[in-house]
Homo-oligomer: 319 residues x 2
Amino acid sequence: MAALAGVSAGTASKALNGTGSLRAETRERVRDAARQLGFTPDARGRSLSSGRSYTVGLVTTDSSGRFSIPVMTGAEDALSAGELMLLLCDTRDDPLRERHYLTTLSARRVDGLIVTGRRTEPREPVRSDVPVVYAFNPSTDPEDTSVVVDDHGGAVEAVRHLLGLGRQRIVHVTGPARHLSATERAAGAREAAGAQLVLEPLFGEWSERWGRQAVELALRQVPDLDAVVCGSDQIARGVCDRLRELGRHVPDDVAVTGFDNWAVMAEASRPPLTTVDLRLTDLGRRAAQLLIEAIDGRRQPGVQRLPTRLVLRESTLGV
Amino acid sequence: MAALAGVSAGTASKALNGTGSLRAETRERVRDAARQLGFTPDARGRSLSSGRSYTVGLVTTDSSGRFSIPVMTGAEDALSAGELMLLLCDTRDDPLRERHYLTTLSARRVDGLIVTGRRTEPREPVRSDVPVVYAFNPSTDPEDTSVVVDDHGGAVEAVRHLLGLGRQRIVHVTGPARHLSATERAAGAREAAGAQLVLEPLFGEWSERWGRQAVELALRQVPDLDAVVCGSDQIARGVCDRLRELGRHVPDDVAVTGFDNWAVMAEASRPPLTTVDLRLTDLGRRAAQLLIEAIDGRRQPGVQRLPTRLVLRESTLGV
DNA sequence: GTTCGGGAGGAAAACGTATTCCTCCCGTTC
DNA sequence: GAACGGGAGGAATACGTTTTCCTCCCGAAC
């Protein structure tokens, strides 16, 4: 490349980067040659010389998970703005695969790591000599940088909305008690509803079927309940379906809220669901920003809890 | 690193790679030093020297799309077996962003590219001086390597299944006629059903709502229809719901098939859907294999059509 | 004792960039 | 006319591998 412009490699570098002191004419000549050859400076050489790879590893336990994906795209979005690229690593929740990926990423001298998963339970930190940000599932070490969803706050938000609508006999239906996200949402609901929560939270599974079953359970004990706060959109959808089948109108008789704002569920539900948006894309974006700052030497340890956002639809508002 | 073992860089390389001729004792000494230092050879140097980066770019128009994701994870899976890693690029369907990503990937000297999207319409080829494989959406240039889903064959498979069950009055409900996947599925259904297709295919949208509407439309013209072949699981789910609401039993009165085998839809439907699995993960895996072969100099031009697989569930089989 | 062979490991070049330092030349000034 | 200053661009080095070629040394053989 440098040869074509009749110039040394060092000079070519200066010309293309606008550094050093060169005549304008030389600079142009080099640029012309580069354009003509379709020359793009080799990032590997640059990386070797600069010490930075402008690459970060994305380690996920499940890259096809519903939660990991928005996080990934958010991260990709924020990183691409900074000319960084993402190396994708799907560990499939296998510690061996994870170890293997970590050494591979280290061999590639990534500038940092984003670690994410499909559950909100804190995870054991990864050993890494570059900055790490945990997204969605925090690290067990509070000195690490983590950014997570505010499950508790989201449930509070949903319940307050229902209370604001005058609902007084509220039931909470959610996923398995062994899932942290379920217990945190339940705690938030209980705290915000107080005496208005007329039944202990119903733990089950994250399915429409459970939503349908739970409605029957709940109505048996509280025939005049007027609101159901659900731990997921799928559950809420099941709840709506069964309520309709039993002749109760949503939202006039019973208001229903979902959780996750999973478009395909929340919008296809009859009626469409008022639900708690987890803002996962923002979460991924935030994780990437924190990582960039950490790479630049401005680390921010601790767990950041991203506020949720309540999306209002007909399941609480009428038509 | 080499210094610690009291050995030259070249010798260290030979020791760690098991090449050259070294005494066993020396080899061990170097390996010990490496282990002790936690030393991992720098992939950038290796890449510069070998001419290969062991990296491929994944260019997708929509990394959060329901179709792109399984393709991505399949590709990641197949590539990681070959020690290759994926650089993620989400163009958001913006040609400018795509161009930018292509030059960035070229600067990183990726060994190849996988191009994917969220629609099956052929797309304009990308300019690249490394091998490219198109997954899901083929290139318009038949000389390129593409691997796509067999929408036509999938519909044939679904219809044959229904014919095998003795159904004789079949209706096809699918997405917008401007979507190639809709027209190809419709063509397959028409071809396989012949005179058993008692109504022109109903084109609409990919939604449950359209499924519900279409059932009413169809029943008005063919009150005794006994099977509905749907262009998507969402449509099929809507179809099932409305049939039930109208008092028709699925599958005893009307058998219903979906398309896509989108687990969350197909399994949550009442009843669960017999549906055409597109095998997108296999498609991604296949794309990666073709790319690896192309990188190794064994290019296979042309469009490969991956066969679909019919998944049987209660919407055609009874309980 | 000399030569040959072969094994062990170092030296050097190559991959491509960025940066520092050096040289050379030209113009200006005294 | 000589000296100084500064601008332009080349040379060298560093980043970290891999690979080829060389050298050196030791043992064996004649």
